[in-house]
């Protein structure tokens, strides 16, 4: 069983296998499930992701009315053709937003690694799909590669906003996605690790400050930027750029930053954007009373 990214890369290189394959083999060994069963379970998760993106691209609105419809706006903008960045990156952003808008509307999603960060991995996957034309099997492999890196983060740091801030959720998701994009594009296991490191470095310190405690503002747009970050970092790694700080040390830094983050900035809706005048006003409007009030109610 690999305990860190260095061991994961070493296993992939010495056995001349892809990271996704190492993850599949470990899953079979640890759970006692057959390979076919493991692949079928991931296939089902992929289907849930496809359905969520499809639903989000038709347009949804959350119960609170705070989020929804941005994925549609971005798709229409892409169709016009005069965007400034690139089609693949904007498509990834739009599909990440679509997933999180469905999540905010209490729709069905697949947590990757969490629900609040569920947009990044599928968003980038379905955007890169247009460019690389992967088989269904390769798309499933994308999820195993993401899972392998997420597995290391979850066991050595955290994937919980309440424990480690948004860096632990969208930061981890973006790193996982970047690594998986690199593998799908034909990069080496080491380049996957570089992409993960570059992405996560640029998410360090990101706090979890949801307005009104809802997984909406700023979560949906953080997934958008997580997807963009992953796409750019993947291109950088494929260009041969490396991270001066090794991936495992970046993950460790993320963990320590999370531990020193005050509780007000770890999913308590007490600091950051949640505590801005507009954040508080939205909260009061949605719930009638501000959430800072902790009086017991029956």
């Amino acid at each position: 069983m690999f305990r860190n990214v260095a061991e994961l890369i070493e296993m992939a290189n010495s056995q001349n296998k892809k990271i996704s394959e190492i993850m599949i083999e470990q899953e079979v060994a640890v759970t006692g499930r057959s390979r076919e069963e493991v692949l079928a379970l991931m296939d089902r998760n992929l289907t849930v992701m496809e359905e969520a993106v499809e639903r989000g691209l038709k347009g949804v609105t959350s119960h609170s009315g705070l989020t929804g419809g941005d994925a549609v706006l971005l798709q229409k903008y892409i169709e016009k053709g005069n965007f400034l960045t690139g089609e693949t990156i904007l498509d990834a952003v739009s599909k990440a937003v679509a997933t999180n808008e469905v999540n905010a509307a209490m729709g069905t999603i697949c947590a990757t690694p969490t629900a609040g960060s569920a947009g990044v991995v599928p968003g980038t996957l379905f955007a890169v799909k247009k460019k690389l034309n992967p088989t269904r099997e390769q798309m499933i492999s994308f999820l195993f590669t993401s899972g392998a890196f997420g597995f290391v983060v979850a066991n050595n740091a955290s994937i919980s906003g309440a424990a480690g801030g948004c860096q632990a959720e969208v930061g981890s998701a973006a790193g996982m996605a970047a690594a998986a994009i690199v593998e799908m594009a034909g990069g080496t296991p080491q380049q996957c690790a570089e992409a993960m490191a570059i992405t996560l470095k640029n998410m360090l310190g990101l706090v979890c400050d949801p307005v009104a405690g809802l997984v909406e503002v700023p979560c949906v747009k953080r997934n958008a930027m997580g997807a963009a970050n992953a796409m750019v970092a993947a291109d950088m790694a494929l260009a041969g750029i490396t991270s001066r700080i090794p991936c495992d040390e970046v993950i460790d830094a993320m963990f320590k930053i999370g531990q020193s983050m005050p509780s007000a900035l770890r999913e308590t809706a007490q600091g950051g954007l949640a505590a801005t005048p507009t954040g508080r006003a939205l909260e009061a409007k949605i719930f009638g009373i501000p959430l800072v009030n902790n009086e017991s109610k029956s």
Binding site: M1, A105, A115, F144, G150, A154, G213, L214, V215
Partner: protein, 220 residues
């Protein structure tokens, strides 16, 4: 290692919006329901830390109640769980606690009916994964690294051996085991961590043993 499976990371399939505050909360409720063994008539649910501060926005309250109604994390009925519980005549009480707990996402659930009560403390550690830290006043020390089952039993000779024999029959190795009781000859609890997955048919077989009251899988 707290996370063993890739499906802890890519998964669960769930109703939004939060894996820790919605899916994890539903799982804590469902473990309580499963250990209680039937639908409760009432539930007092205490929320701590981030759970207490943000439960309305995350639907933590509806999710826990959904779990108490035996709904899975991807069951759309979770959205209306509180209304469904009220229709069934289940009395619900939510308490926002100020006390600081070891983990920010902690819930204490006390459920009951005219035949009995159950008290459980669960924490949601991220990505939908949960740990049960306390059951009916018994402190549980589960690593969370291995599949685990809880066996509520009468404190009688032979109870432990009979459970171990069934596990041996299915070639399931026990990695760690704790037995605790509050009073000699009364209710006791076995916490068993094993190396292999335990199928539902084995749980049923264990439950049919003499002096075994309830068997529940708490870690997959």
């Amino acid at each position: 290692m707290k996370y063993r499976s890739v499906f802890d990371i890519i998964g669960p399939v769930m109703i939004g919006p939060s894996s820790s505050h919605t899916a994890g909360a539903a799982r804590i409720g469902r473990v309580a329901r499963s250990l209680f063994g039937r639908e409760p008539k009432w539930a007092n649910i205490s929320l701590y830390g981030s759970f207490a501060k943000t439960y309305k926005g995350h639907g933590t309250d509806v999710a826990i109640v959904g779990g108490l109604l035996d709904f899975e994390t991807d069951d759309v009925r979770i959205i209306n769980a509180i209304d469904i519980a009220k229709e069934k005549g289940i009395k619900l009480r939510f308490i926002e606690e100020d006390a600081v707990t070891d983990h920010p996402n902690t819930a204490r659930i006390i459920i009951g009916d005219h035949n009995g009560e159950l008290e459980l403390v669960g924490i949601s550690i991220g990505g939908g994964k949960i740990e049960v830290t306390e059951l009916n006043g018994f402190e549980l020390k589960l690593s969370g690294n291995h599949p685990a089952i809880l066996v509520v039993h009468n404190d009688r000779f032979g109870a432990i051996a009979s459970v171990a024999n069934i596990l041996a029959k299915y070639e399931i190795n026990i990695g760690h085991m704790e037995v605790s009781r509050k009073e000699q000859g009364k209710l006791a609890l076995m916490t068993i961590e094993v190396d292999q997955n335990i199928n539902d048919n084995i749980l049923i077989e264990l439950e049919e043993l003499p002096n075994i009251l309830k068997v529940t899988k708490i870690v997959d």
